[in-house]
Subunit: 174 residues, 2 copies
Amino acid sequence: MSLRFAVLGLLDDQPSSGYDLLQRFKWTLANVWPATQSQVYTELAKLAEAALITVSDEGPRGRKEYTITAAGRTELQRWLTEIEPKTLVRNEMLIRVFFLGVVSRADAEEYLARVRARTVEDRADLLQLRDNVDWNTKDDDLSTYGRIALEWGLRYNAMNQEWAEWAITQLPER
Amino acid sequence: MSLRFAVLGLLDDQPSSGYDLLQRFKWTLANVWPATQSQVYTELAKLAEAALITVSDEGPRGRKEYTITAAGRTELQRWLTEIEPKTLVRNEMLIRVFFLGVVSRADAEEYLARVRARTVEDRADLLQLRDNVDWNTKDDDLSTYGRIALEWGLRYNAMNQEWAEWAITQLPER
DNA sequence: TCGTTCATGTAAGACGTTACATGATTGT
DNA sequence: ACAATCATGTAACGTCTTACATGAACGA
């Protein structure tokens, strides 16, 4: 359901084709709500069907540019203010932690070390994103709130790194 | 796919019926990998079919107790050491942040305040979990690693709370 | 002319949610 | 007797992933 609003939100910022949206996803929402090419095109068709967006332009190679409608913007606002976000966390990294007792201590430690290494890499990616995007010249809402979301990512990674380091110290002797 | 291993991991710790597993899920994995009743029973059937678990006992009301097999334990270890966990984060709370520009400043602030309030509640739940479970008398692996995972949850909530408070200070005047 | 990028769409299958459906056993 | 708990299973539907399929336009 969130993908629907992610698409709607990006279109509210600026009319785009499916192809455009996929590029924009990469730089903005990929770390928060990944979506495949297949999904985006299917969602666009459904949104158009529901009249929350319309084809506003057609270009070469069958390109279709979509624009959000008034009904679409209303829906987007309703989603933001009235629909309580589910807090559910599905964490593939953390679920493995529960069962580290079934492997050797060495393997458990290696696992946590890899987790730590990953957070360092992810953090580097986010920092690069922060430095590559020219936030100053863009003072639109998406940039403002994108920066706030990016800060969440940086803090999340820092937290994970610290936790992984601490967790290694907590491993039982066995 | 992870649910499969969550079930396997719990059965490795101790033979259980589907009903038992659902109770145990509530106290352990619910915050990391939620599962419904429907899903658990379906997964048990599939795991038994694949001979990774077997029915080790039958009780009243059609109760079936499952036990992990040697093949099952091997699979579990393989998953832990060889399968790289996907780092993908799907975050319903954070995706909304990107689009807070489409609602009023007051609504945006209210949204972030609610996020903050939620983290406080969630943290309280985790603290209660920590205090209700008697970790000292249980020195098995699941308890050890469960404690480490719980610490992640506490840090995660603390981080979210601090971030939400900071985010409110970053809202544009408009 | 040839490789890359642009551009859209469909299909099969896995996973997850919600709802439906049923009934035995236990404790008060 | 009656409510709560124990206990299992299926079906429909929605979402997500992976793969397949196709081709136009652009730039070197």
